[in-house]
Symmetry: C2
Subunit: 330 residues, 2 copies
């Protein structure tokens, strides 16, 4: 493929299909257990889709940094186990009934099993990580999972709090989302044993991409999707999560409108009518476009982190992934 | 103190009070965080009592094996963080309202915060462990936490299942309880860098002690305690946990009595009257004495694991702890 043609996300899936298939086999091998309930629930989870976004980034980052070995497959699997563990606990916390269009594990097997299988996936991931006997990888994974949990707790602490600042919001999404994406990228670089500044650049790519990813998610939560009938709008707000679109709206709307929004949030009065009102105000004040532009800003920042790398297939692929993060569902 | 006088548990607390105080300070230092909710909940948890049984064992094992450094304080703290993390999740799973006579965190701050602070304590413990950069310790901690979660899941799988065998029961309590106690002991030995067979002996002490500990807990659950008014009897059974006293009772009682018990369990019909009936049958068939004798058997096995160690203060202390485990609340 000529490197002058920008790569698309479909090209990326095609080019890395074989490696992602190996990750998939690795995940299944990692989850073999003599406890039936672990097999049943984990098979369900890992056969319910999921783009393997973090494994893909780990693979691409390792290749960009010049890694030629095989360890990236096992570590990519481990990152997906950790990610899935957090989803299981998130679904219990949010009392979610659906994920990716399928019933959540907590609906099918209950909260107890979901909490414990989450714990199991996480501890199994730890077993596989430490078996690599690489202190740098041990430390980044431990610190990342600590940050993720701290981020979730910080988010819980500001539930329904309209006074939170944009910086506080950005810190929360940094910890709860960007940290694991940044770690996936840095682990790829660590595997390649490249110089520290290159590791930092690759990690910075992941961090900014992670922020863009969560900003986009938080924005799309307020956008109706013609393809998905019945998609509920404002799900985050219903769970008390105050995200960038709402914070931006409060900065732009009139005092009367702000008071109305405050009242809705304080009373948990999330009727369809009230949510529609908020979405209409967001459209009127250009908040959706603004939030997506902010996300695109982080994508550009991510790409700039990789300026010092010479052109290559993994570099083009990382650029394609970066663009895809913001434009995926529009 | 002359070594010919058997040490009592009170002697042990006195002799190791200073080191346990250092563990306590370490725990508080480890839990400093910029998320208020983490500080609030963890202060509550770590100020609500708890005997620091696992930290004590880690300290004693390290001293028995000849360790003279300071690393055991930090690792003892880490083990207590992991133990507390499992208690937080256990209380959510069991919908418990009281622990050690205090309201559980889930009653005061909700299930969400309890799940997340459990995750936080666990991930923070991981950070501190890997910072030791000792592969052997990393691996035993990761494998132990994996086993603990697998044990909890296995227990959930056989909820209310009267067909479970004694071996299956012993495997479950081995994983969910003995594994962490055994690991606490082995980590002490690893710190001392003693020969493999000594590490194995010390770990075996912990494993057998852990089984004795859980057997005793499971038995005392069916024993009324005059000191604690209002102590509910048969709490485990009410949560669907089938333990040794009930399994032994089913082996000894008449077919009619067994049918009655099966019916009670199948219908979740745990009225006070039915629980009293079961306790009375246990007394009649000597099941409580039998179960405690089994626990004492494991204590003796634990002590025998340490036969090759020459007499010393930590050895006498470990023996005192071992006896205390079975006789603590009778």
């Amino acid at each position: 493929m000529p490197l002058t043609m920008p790569m698309t996300m479909n090209d990326v899936w095609d080019l890395y299909r074989e490696e992602l298939k190996r990750v998939e086999s690795q995940i299944h091998a990692d989850l073999k257990s003599d406890v039936q309930l672990i097999d049943t629930i984990s098979s369900y989870l890992f056969n319910s889709g999921g783009k393997r976004f973090r494994p893909l980034l780990l693979i691409l980052a390792s290749r960009l940094a010049g890694y030629e070995g095989d360890g990236h497959i096992e570590l990519a699997s481990v990152i997906e186990l950790i990610h899935t563990a957090t989803l299981l606990h998130d679904d219990v916390l949010d009392e979610a009934s659906l994920r990716r269009g399928n019933k959540t594990a907590r609906i099918l097997w209950g909260n107890q099993a979901s909490i414990l299988v989450g714990d199991y996936l996480y501890t199994k991931a730890q077993c596989n990580i430490v078996s690599f006997r690489n202190h740098e990888i041990n430390e980044i994974v431990a610190e990342t999972t600590r940050r993720m949990t701290a981020g979730e707790l910080a988010q819980l602490s500001v539930n329904c709090d309209l006074q939170i600042t944009e910086d506080e919001y950005l810190e929360i999404i940094g910890n709860k989302t960007a940290a694991l994406i940044a770690a996936s990228c840095r682990i790829g670089a660590i595997l390649a044993d490249c110089p520290e500044d290159r590791k930092d650049n690759i990690e910075s790519f992941g961090w900014n991409l992670g922020i863009a990813f969560q900003l986009t998610d938080d924005t799309l939560d307020y956008v109706a999707d013609g393809k998905k009938l019945g998609k509920s709008i404002g799900k985050d707000l219903q769970e008390g999560k105050i995200t960038l679109p709402l914070l931006s709206l409060l900065q732009r709307c009139s005092e009367d409108e702000a008071n109305k929004i405050e009242k809705i949030v304080q009373l948990y009065d999330f009727t369809e009518e009230n949510l529609e009102l908020i979405v209409k105000l967001m459209q009127r004040y250009g908040v959706i476009d603004y939030s997506l532009a902010r996300a695109r800003g982080y994508v550009e920042k991510a790409k700039k982190s990789l300026l010092s790398f010479k052109d290559s297939m993994p570099l083009q692929a990382l650029f394609a992934v970066a663009d895809y993060v913001v434009d995926r569902e529009l």
